[in-house]
Amino acid sequence: MKFIRLRVANYRGVTAAEVTFGPAGITLVQGPNEAGKTSLGEAIGLLFDYLDSSKHRNIEAIKPVHRDEGPEIELQAESGPYAFTYFKRFLKKPETTLTVTRPKSENRTGREAHERAEAILRETLDIDLWKALIIQQGDAIHQPNLTKQASLSRALDKAAGGRPADPREEGLFDAVLEEYLRYYTERGTERKDLAEARKALTDAYAEVARIQKAIRDLDHDIERAASLQRELGQIKKQEEELTKERAAHTASLEEIGILENALSEARLKLKSAQQSEQIAHRDKEARQGLIGAADKAAKAHADIEESGVMSLAALNQAESKLKDAQTAFDESDRKRKGADALAVLRRADFDYYNNRLHFEQLRERKSRIDHARKNAAQAEEILARNSVDSRALKSIQDAERGLLTANAQLQTGAPSVLLRGLADCHLSVDDAEVSLSKGEVRTISVADTSRLSIPGVLDIEITAGASAEGLTRKVEAARRALGDACAKAGVSTPDDARKACDDRREAMRHVESKAQAEKENLRDLTYEELDRRLRGLEQSVPEYLARRVAEPPMCPDLESAKKERARAEALHHETVSQWESDREQLDAARSVRDVWNTKHQESRVQLDLLAKDLKNACDNLERARQSVTDDALETSLTNAVQAVASEEAGVRAAETSLKAKNPDKVKALAETAKGSLHTAQNRRNAAHTELTEVQTRLKIHGEEGLHEKLHGAQTRLDHLAADHASLLRRASSAKCLFETMREERDKARRAYVAPLKEKIEHLGRLVFDDSFQVDISEDLLIVSRTMNDITVPFDCLSGGTREQLSLIFRSACSMIVAKDGGAPLILDDTLGYTDPGRLRLMGAVLAKAAKECQIVIFTCVPDRYGNVGEATVVALT
């Protein structure tokens, strides 16, 4: 709907006011207080809501003050396909006219006009939404109630998926909810009816089960009664048979009793005879015992006597043998001792010679050591004096070779004089006498000047030239070197040096041979030990000869001493063997003598004892015979044996008679029959008692009509089960339907809330920042605002913010429904809570909204809306 013009007259304090709204966008109606701004906003609602004849207090409230005229409202508007002018005068000369110019001309008055206007409005406008979007003074911070706004829902549904919900669907949902609540609470728990139905069903099942059990029990009792009756019949028959059987057994048992008594009597007599026989036997055995004892004692005494004689002879023989053995042993002992002494002497002799030899060897070894030590000491002295070692000798020899070399070079390089003897002659060469034989040739090298003189004949001086001079100097140098080397070594010539070197080497050999001599001669001894032993032997060897016995004579040498020692030891061994043999024989003879001696003593003691026993036994036998003779005892025994045989025959006869009656079998059968009869009686009593009980139960329960009760209970159960199943089915279907529909409804709501949220956030970001978000409930209310990740519930926001959000919310709704005709957004002096900064931004919101829907703003503060962009401004005065 779009407002074109609105006029009011005689409206509260307003005599006349008229607003022509802008063709689109914002119409800003400004004016001071009481100029009628609020009245204009209110008037549109009253025009459509009330008949001109209405006396409603809202109509009474607009009656003009101090004037007796009816308030008038006239609206020119377009809605959907319609363009119309709608006029009403209330209270005074009420009148309603509706002039429709499009789509076809209509003129209506009175109630018809009212209803037609209402119809047009209903057809083209969501009146509830329109009213919800109007902001009246003081309402600015409250959100509109948009639940059940069909046109908004439709628009949102369309925006969400193009499938707008039918308005009747909410009604259907309520009906479904109502059906659901018949079975379940709002929290989803079952109502009492369902629980009661279930309980009734359970009870019915229990009742059926109870009766079924009672019937089973009854059937069991019926079977049992028949069974018991059969059993009682059988028991009765059995009892009769058992009674007869028991009577027969009783008669047999009486006969058996008589025979048993006779047998007992015979056995008593037999027992008495047997006792008499036993006594006679015992007396006879006692007599025989006495006789036997006397005989036995006499025999034992005789045996021991004989044994004593034998043992004495053996003892004497043993004594004799012991004496011989002792004699032999003494001789052996004497011989052993002699051999012992001889062996000791011969060993000492041998040791003497041995020690003497050892003494000499030690003395020789000590002498060799001493000699080596002496040589070494001398060598040490030589070494201390003589420093010509091999190196020094080599230096000298090298110098010597140098001298020889220089001389040779001189002789080679210097002039030489060849002397050849023509005859034997003597001459002097450089003052040396030289003899030259005939034909002998000698060459003299002239190093510098040489003088040859043949005494008396000739004196020749030969002088070498310049080249020989150098060679001569070399020779001199070499000689000096040789001289130096010899001087250093402390010798005068190389030959001395060579000798000295040999001496030194010999001295060193002596030093070295000392250690070797000590090692070879000391062996495992030290020099001191060697010396000590030597001194010990030196003393002991001569002493032995002094203290040795004269006989036998001393052996002449070691070898004979050794032979004598061996001989003495062999003799000693032999005598010891003999001695040991004799000693063993002596011990054996002594043992034999001791054994026989012991036996002999024992025989003597036993013989005394047996003599006493023999006397006692003879005394006892004599006394017994004096009391009863042996013959009397024999007669008594014979009589007793005969009596026993007689009684045994009697017993056997009685036993045969009794056995013929088979008493064990008869007794067992009688006992069994008695027990069986007793058992049968017990069984009969028990069966009878049980039968009585069963019959009593049958009497009680058999006539209860259990069969029909069961059928009744079963029928009731079937009906209850059917009812319960039906109830459950209905409840389940209601639940299924409700839950499915609720889910679909919620899903649809969530879907259609999305465009609204988007629109609000789009507008809101003009005022707030880009992080601005809102959460919209399914009831189409802003639940919270989120900025910079901070979420604040709507009711906790400041008044100004709530006012801004409410206005943005309404603007968004208007924009959404504007495409389908929409509804003008009427704002009565809103944004009173908004600060100047936000006012400018809210102006932008309104300007944006105004591009899609008509906005009418009533205000007494025009500056508040200075930033709403293009607007039609209407001033009320």
């Binding site: 549904d157 499938r163 707008p164 919900a165 039918d166 009747r168 669907e169 009604g171 259907l172 949902f173 309520d174 009906a175 479904v176 059906e179 019937i215 009854l218 059937d219 009792d221 019926i222 079977e223 009664a225 028949a226 069963v694 019959q695 049958l698 329960h701 058999g702 006539e703 209860e704 009509g705 259990l706 069969h707 029909e708 009760k709 069961l710 059928h711 009744g712 079963q714 029928t715 079937d718 009906h719 089915r729 209905r730 389940s732 279907s733 209601a734 299924c736 339907l737 499915t740 529909m741 679909e744 409804r745 899903k747 649809a748």
Partner: protein, 376 residues
């Protein structure tokens, strides 16, 4: 010549769980009424006595009221009545025939056949009964009873027995089976002249002699009975026998299997066919439905079933094989486009998945359809 009324299987005290309380009472009363009817017919047909061949009572444990009402009804029978205990009411320790109510209220002309001893009911007629003494005898009591009999000299001997005969029973080895050959042999030997049997609920001739008969139950008890609701009038002459059945039952059991329902016409045809059934309050109907219906037609069918439930003695519908599938026509007129439409689509999807959830979803959809029609 002697004429008697042969009946059996009164099954007094029988209940049927599918019957509602009122119908059950009518059903029970019909059985007592049948006794009175028998009394009247016995008199009209000049019967000398009435033979009840077993199972007069449904159980030994029937309610004492049932016994009392039976005795009251029997008082109105003017001829002697001989009752043979059967397998449902054997003469055991808890027999109804030994109950205090029976003993105290039994009319003098009513006699329980307690053993196989011949009962001379007239100068020329002798009865021989084979009562059941327990529910599960090793052999049918008739065998011993026949064995003990000598030839009937000068009397018409009528045998009362209860149990299935071997020629009509698949399980010939089961206990209590009566050998037809044995009976026929006894007839040939002249031991008996007529065998009045009970146990089978349909009036049935056994063998070809015309001397062995089941009387059937006087009131139907189940759907599968073919000749129930009859009594049997027998006339034995000198070497002849004649019999006839007279229908006295008031109750009918109608079973219709595989009633195919797919269209509105099918549903309407069913409604009409039900409507045409007479004596509905004493009629038990069982329908097995097949086919597939829309929700709308299913709703209509449910209404017909509810109406039938109100008028028939019992109305048992088995619709496990009847598919109820919503189609577009069910919701076409409701014009749903929003979440209600979404709900319809989801429930239809669940139905197509089958199982228990599918069944619940279908019922939910039917509920939704009903609520939508009530709301819109």
């Amino acid at each position: 010549m002697i004429r008697f009324l042969h009946t059996s299987d009164w099954q007094l005290g029988m209940t049927r769980h599918f019957l509602s309380e009122g119908a059950q009472e009518r059903y029970s009363q019909a059985r007592f009424d049948a006794i009175r009817t028998m009394g009247r017919i016995a008199k009209e047909e000049q019967c000398r006595f009435v033979l009840v061949c077993g199972d007069a009572f449904e159980s030994n444990q029937v309610d004492r009221k049932t016994v009392a009402r039976a005795m009251e009804a029997l008082k109105e029978v003017s001829v002697p009545v001989f009752i043979l205990p059967g397998n449902h009411d054997p003469l055991n320790a808890a027999s109804v025939y030994r109950s205090s109510t029976f003993i105290e209220r039994k009319p003098a002309h009513v006699q329980v056949v307690e053993n196989a001893a011949p009962i001379r009911v007239a100068a020329e007629v002798e009865l021989v009964g084979a009562p059941w003494l327990s529910k599960r005898p090793a052999t049918n009591p008739l065998e011993d009873a026949i064995s003990a009999l000598g030839p009937a000299d000068g009397v018409s001997r009528i045998c009362l027995a209860h149990g299935a005969v071997d020629t009509l029973t698949p399980d010939r080895e089961s206990a209590g089976i009566i050998s037809v050959a044995m009976l026929e042999q006894a007839i040939i030997e002249g031991k008996i002249h007529f065998a009045a049997l009970g146990d089978r609920h349909s009036l049935t001739k056994v063998g070809d002699s015309g001397r062995i008969w089941y009387s059937g139950t006087p009131e139907s008890t189940d759907f599968r009975e073919t000749q129930s609701g009859y009594i049997h009038i027998v006339e034995i002459g000198d070497g002849t026998v004649a019999s006839k059945g007279i229908q006295i039952g008031q109750w009918r059991f109608i079973e219709r299997e595989r009633v195919d329902l797919n269209t509105a016409d099918d549903v309407e045809a069913l409604r009409k066919s039900l409507e045409e059934i007479e004596n509905k309050d004493r009629t038990v109907v069982r329908l097995s439905l097949v086919g597939s219906l829309t929700l709308t037609l299913s709703g209509a069918l449910q209404n017909h079933i509810l109406a039938a439930n109100d008028v028939f003695g019992a109305f048992d519908v088995r619709a496990d094989d009847l598919l109820v599938l919503p189609d577009h026509t069910d919701f076409a007129n409701l014009g749903f486009s929003g979440f209600a439409d979404g709900t319809v689509q989801r429930l239809r999807s669940k139905i197509s998945e089958g199982r228990d959830e599918g069944t619940v979803a279908r019922e939910a959809l039917i509920l939704m359809l009903r609520l939508a029609r009530e709301t819109v």
